[in-house]
């Protein structure tokens, strides 16, 4: 099994790409950034896997620079990257690469180099990334290129390896698209999305010949540095006055900006979380009642919320009001039962009963020390995944 390292995708693929299989990333030409191959390669190099990377759109030097821009300088990895230069001859530039495509307009030229690498150089179970299929189809002719791909995938099968292909879904003829669909064991589509506050990309597993989960559309963004991250444009942190929201956001985010006055938060706080393949923008909503209209407004465009309550304060009236706000917004949420280090606090079951929470997860936290804070975040994204998978 070869993992893609793309957040959540491996889960949908049933752990990754099984050996002997090929996976096509079919990318809409309108997608702003689509360095899928680079993301998958660095994930595998990091794990010590040897990888073959066929580049045809940029020079090997530019590709190396891209890796660096993503924060993944190639020298740092235990795995070896064998870069195949399909670019230089195309524009008539000199190449200092060990592996060079001499005839970029002839698919056999690609096959020769790939075969040599697969048989003599890389061990079984390696990853081949072909970037990009559409480009090589344009250069070598669509039919010939696809026949070549069939042979390459055959070699990959014999060597118990895995191949991924980057493919830009230009408006090709229907019969060509049909051939492409049959030529690969799995297809992941990438397209651009604009949804409320979110503009970015989304991927979706379209088909797999093994038992992958198809259909769920997962929004993501590409960050330099950082690579592909699932992006949550608006995660609310809500809760009554002095429940510890500001500290919570501070602990949760790498950088946060807030305006404090007299110890009580009077403006919307903001922070950013980078954790487990997610990047989320945090917005704290102050607890005072006069911010209720703000809450209504923010809730309408938010994706999820963390409710921070003071577990040492047994009057849950304000907390109840916050639960009502969130419920009205209809977004997934979890509860952080904060100040668990205080001498007497209310138990989870009591909180659940008082706030009428049913199956909403409650996480014990001490925001001042950071205890339970990351767990709260993880519980929330888990809950969001459950909701989106159920759709």
């Amino acid at each position: 099994m070869i993992e893609t390292g793309i957040p959540r995708l491996d889960k949908y693929l049933g752990g990754g790409i099984p050996e002997q299989k090929s996976l096509l990333f079919s990318i809409s030409p309108e997608v702003e950034e689509s360095n899928v191959a680079i993301h998958v390669l660095q994930h595998n190099l990091k794990q010590g896997n040897d990888c073959i990377y066929i580049v045809s759109k940029s020079s090997p030097k530019q590709v190396r620079q891209s890796f660096t821009e993503f924060g993944w300088p190639l020298a740092d990895y235990p795995g070896t990257l064998y870069m195949v230069d399909g670019y230089s001859r195309l524009i008539g530039a000199p190449s200092d690469q060990d592996y060079l495509i001499f005839e970029p307009h002839d698919i056999l030229s690609y096959e020769d180099v790939i075969e040599e690498l697969l048989l003599d150089t890389v061990p079984e179970g390696s990853l081949l990334a072909f970037d990009s299929l559409s480009n090589v189809m344009d250069l070598c002719g669509e039919r010939d290129a696809l026949k070549g791909v069939k042979r390459i995938n055959g070699e990959i099968g014999e060597r118990n390896s895995v191949a991924i292909y980057n493919f830009t879904a230009w408006p090709y003829k229907e019969n060509i698209m049909y051939r492409i669909q049959r030529r690969f064991d799995g297809i992941v589509e990438v397209h651009s999305v604009t949804e409320g506050a979110f503009t970015g990309q989304a991927y979706r597993v379209k088909q797999t010949s093994w038992n992958g989960v198809t259909g769920t559309s997962v929004p993501f963004k590409v960050f330099r540095p950082g690579g592909i991250k699932l992006y949550i444009p608006k995660m609310l942190v809500v809760g009554p006055f002095k429940a510890g929201k500001t500290t919570f956001i501070k602990q949760l985010s790498e950088r946060s900006t807030q305006v404090d006055r007299m110890g009580a938060t009077i403006a919307v706080e903001h922070g950013t979380v980078d954790h487990k393949g997610y990047r989320a923008e945090l917005f704290g909503i102050p607890g005072q009642e006069r911010f209720a209209p703000l809450m209504d407004k923010m809730g309408a465009t938010a994706s999820c919320a963390i409710l921070v309550i003071d577990a040492s304060d047994p009057s849950f009236e304000k907390a109840r009001a916050a639960v009502d706000y969130i419920r009205r917004a209809g977004i997934p949420f979890v509860v952080a039962a904060n100040k668990r280090d205080m001498p007497s606090t209310v138990g989870d079951e009591e909180i659940r009963r008082m706030l009428d929470l049913h199956d909403v997860p409650i996480i014990d936290t001490v925001a001042t020390s950071g205890r339970g804070v990351m767990e709260t975040f993880e519980a929330l994204v888990q809950r969001m995944e459950e909701v989106s998978d159920a759709d």
């Binding site: 309108e30 020079s59 530019q62 524009i91 230009w170």
Partner: protein, 241 residues
Amino acid sequence: MLIETGIDRLDELLKGGLPPVTNTLLYAAPFIGKDTIAKHYALAGLQAGEPVIFVLTDRSFLEMKDEMKQLDSNFPSYEDKGMVRYIDVYSKSVELDEKGPNVTFVDSPINREQITASIIKAEKAFTEEYEQHRLILDSLSTLVVYSDAKAVFRFLQVVSGTCQRMGSTSIFTMTRGMHEELEVQTIKHLMDGVVEMKEDGARMQIRVQGCGEVVSRNWIDYLLEQDEVRLTGAFRMSRVA
């Protein structure tokens, strides 16, 4: 409102200018004024308050910047206002290490994905502030040379659609004499009009196909004088084909 090209008598020929939110192919032999028309088109846009996107495959954004400055010393002030964006598809491929604000560098003319993405990004940014903008892609010929006409056709299908959605009035240049007739026809198919320029002995002539209603569809004589294209041929009286 028609989109003025900045060449007075060409606008007259076009009965005021190019129809808004259309794609026009500027198809001309080398060195007979194609660049001049493209530059005047950009400048006319800026003077009318419309921002401009340059997609450059054959020169760096700095060269373009200098040429525009020569045409109008006021050009830097438009740049300062953020009305000019460059997509430089040249510098990186010849290993020029240039930098600048409002420039996106694309690795190579082969990377049509990145060109498309950069165009969309630039257009999106303009649509937030401006109702319409202009785009000049110079040139399609280079893109065709590095792959083939069919691939560029598919690229243009996406880009021309995007331009229309984003409210861009766009000019795509192509060099006459570099391509086979079938390739040119393939590209023309995606355009709303063609402005053609040719050299016939000592005469230089221009003609308009498509582009909405025009005064004449005949070849019209013109003169190329330092940074000016002057249509000298008569067309007021000519038959409208």
